[in-house]
Structures are given as C-alpha cells and as structure tokens.
Amino acid sequence: MVYARIRPNEDLVQSIEKLCLAQGIERAFVRGSLGSLTAACIETPAGGSVMITGPAVEVVNISGEVRTDATGTPRAELHGVVSDANGHVRGGRFVSGNNIVCITFEIALEEWKPDSPA
C-alpha cells in the first residue's frame, strides 16, 4: 500500500495518476482517501458538471481505481461524495484537472496485479 499526502493547489485526479507514475504502479485500487478541495467539480448524471464551492469542500468518500491505458499512461477514475460548509452532500465523478486540493489530501492506494488483465 502506498500512502501519500498531496499538498495544496494540486489536482486530486492527476495527483493520483502522477503518484502511480512515480511509484511504478500500473493498476491500483483506492483504499483510503480524505481531505479537502477548494471547490469540487463533479459530473452529474445528465452529463454536465457542477461546482461545489468552499471556503473548502470535504471529500467524505471516494471509490476509485487507476488503470494504465494503451499509451502507458495511468488513468484514475474516481467517484465519490463531498460535503460543503453546511454539511450538505453531493456526489458524482470527479472531473480531472478541476478538483484542487485546499489544505491537504491523504490518499492510500493498493497496487493490484491481476493474473490476466481485464
């Protein structure tokens, strides 16, 4: 298991992908995740996206994985739930490049090595 602290002003999705590049991880399961974003940008079921604004937005749950595509580039697919300054929750898929860490983000990745890649 890899545990990391992501510092402010880094994108959550791309930071996880960069972490996999740095650690030589091709596939991973998100074991743990908690932290804050300056604003959360998540896809809605209708295909649009919505921004939940701060001063900070708490990420209360992520289910996600990282897979490496045909070009050798890790791609993180993260879905989850965030809560705002009133404790109200929203959920969806985190949009890459648009979920900026506010104070800190802790991420725990479990490398996964399948016998036969799906």
């Binding site: 545990y3 002003n9 919505v50 001063p55 809560s83 404790g87």
Partner: protein
C-alpha cells in the same frame, strides 16, 4: 453552459517544492475491528491497534447506528491565519453512520491521533457529511465494523505545515516517539 474552473488559492506560507509526499508499506495486514455500543470511534480504533503495536493505519469504517455523531464543516478563518478552518462542531443524536475513511497516526506528542471523514443520516432522514470527531462519535444500539489496513514500514504523524498553517498528517520514514496512552477530550 459556461466552463467550470477551479481556482488556485494563495496560502499564507511559501509552497514547498515537493507537492506529493509518499511512502509505501509492502507488507500490510488487514484487521477487522468491531466497536461495541457506547464506545467512541477513537477508542474502538486505537485500543485494539495499540494492542497489536500498530501506530499507523488506513481504516475503512462501515455503517451503523450512533448515539452521537460530532462533526465539523469548513468555514472561513476570520483571523486570516489560514484560508479555511473548521466552524463550531455539529452534533447529531441518534444518527446513522453510512461509512467513512480514517487515518490513524501519531500526534505531535506521540499519542494516537485519528483524521476521519464520513457521511451519515440524521434522525430526520437527511444525509450529511464532514470531518468526524472520532473521540465524540459514540456507537449506538448495535456494533459497528471497520477494516484497518496496517502500516508497518513507516509512520504517519501530525506536523506543522508552514504553507497552510495547519497541523496535518505526513508520512515519515523514520520512527517517531510513541507515547503510551490515548487522547482525552
């Protein structure tokens, strides 16, 4: 529809060069924990893991009824010392915890410390979420289960972050001072 774009934030301190601090623990164990009625999430996590000499772990909390859930939500910092802080804690009596993630590590003084986020249903049926105060979140009428993934080749410890002026968890490759006891609040 206008493009949505997240802004960067200028924090009070100078940004550190390294933007992601990572350590790996190749030989993790998974422990199943059960928290009895009346036990705080903090005690439920800390006491059995201390018994196993485990100071750092990543914990997946499952759901269950709670006598009390204490939680914090983000707020502006009127002092200007940080870009965001926590407001006064909210308390939800007889809520139902839906699940969450916690990190067990060490405080600056070496005592166990838990950082936890989670979601829950209020007694009125609304779903809420936030930073869970594990010392004051108390298990209700039936036990609550968690799975702890133990960290054995580095530690996680709070330290001052001069960039944000917050005290946050960092992975550390060297072993820190471990103090007997638990935090009382």
């Amino acid at each position: 529809m206008p493009a949505l774009h997240s802004r960067l934030v200028r924090h009070p301190g100078r940004p550190a060069d390294a933007r992601c601090l990572a350590e790996s623990s190749p030989n993790c164990r998974t422990l199943r924990l059960t928290f009895a009625t009346g036990v705080s999430l903090y005690e439920g996590i800390v006491l059995p893991l201390r018994g196993e000499k485990i100071t750092s772990a990543v914990i997946n909390l499952l759901g269950g009824p709670m006598q009390m859930i204490e939680y914090c939500m983000p707020a502006d910092d009127a002092s200007g010392r940080t870009v965001a802080t926590y407001g006064e804690p909210g308390r939800e009596r007889n809520g139902y915890f839906l699940g969450g993630t916690a990190t067990l590590g060490l405080a600056v003084d070496g005592l166990p410390f838990i950082h936890c986020h989670g979601s829950f249903v209020t007694e009125a049926g609304d779903v809420r979420g936030g930073h869970i105060v594990t010392e004051k979140t108390i298990v209700g009428s039936t036990p609550v289960t968690a799975f702890a993934r133990t960290i054995d080749s580095f530690i996680v410890q709070l330290s001052e972050d001069t960039e944000t002026n917050h005290r946050v968890f960092h992975p550390r490759s060297t072993s820190g001072a471990i103090t007997d006891g638990v935090h009382r609040s």
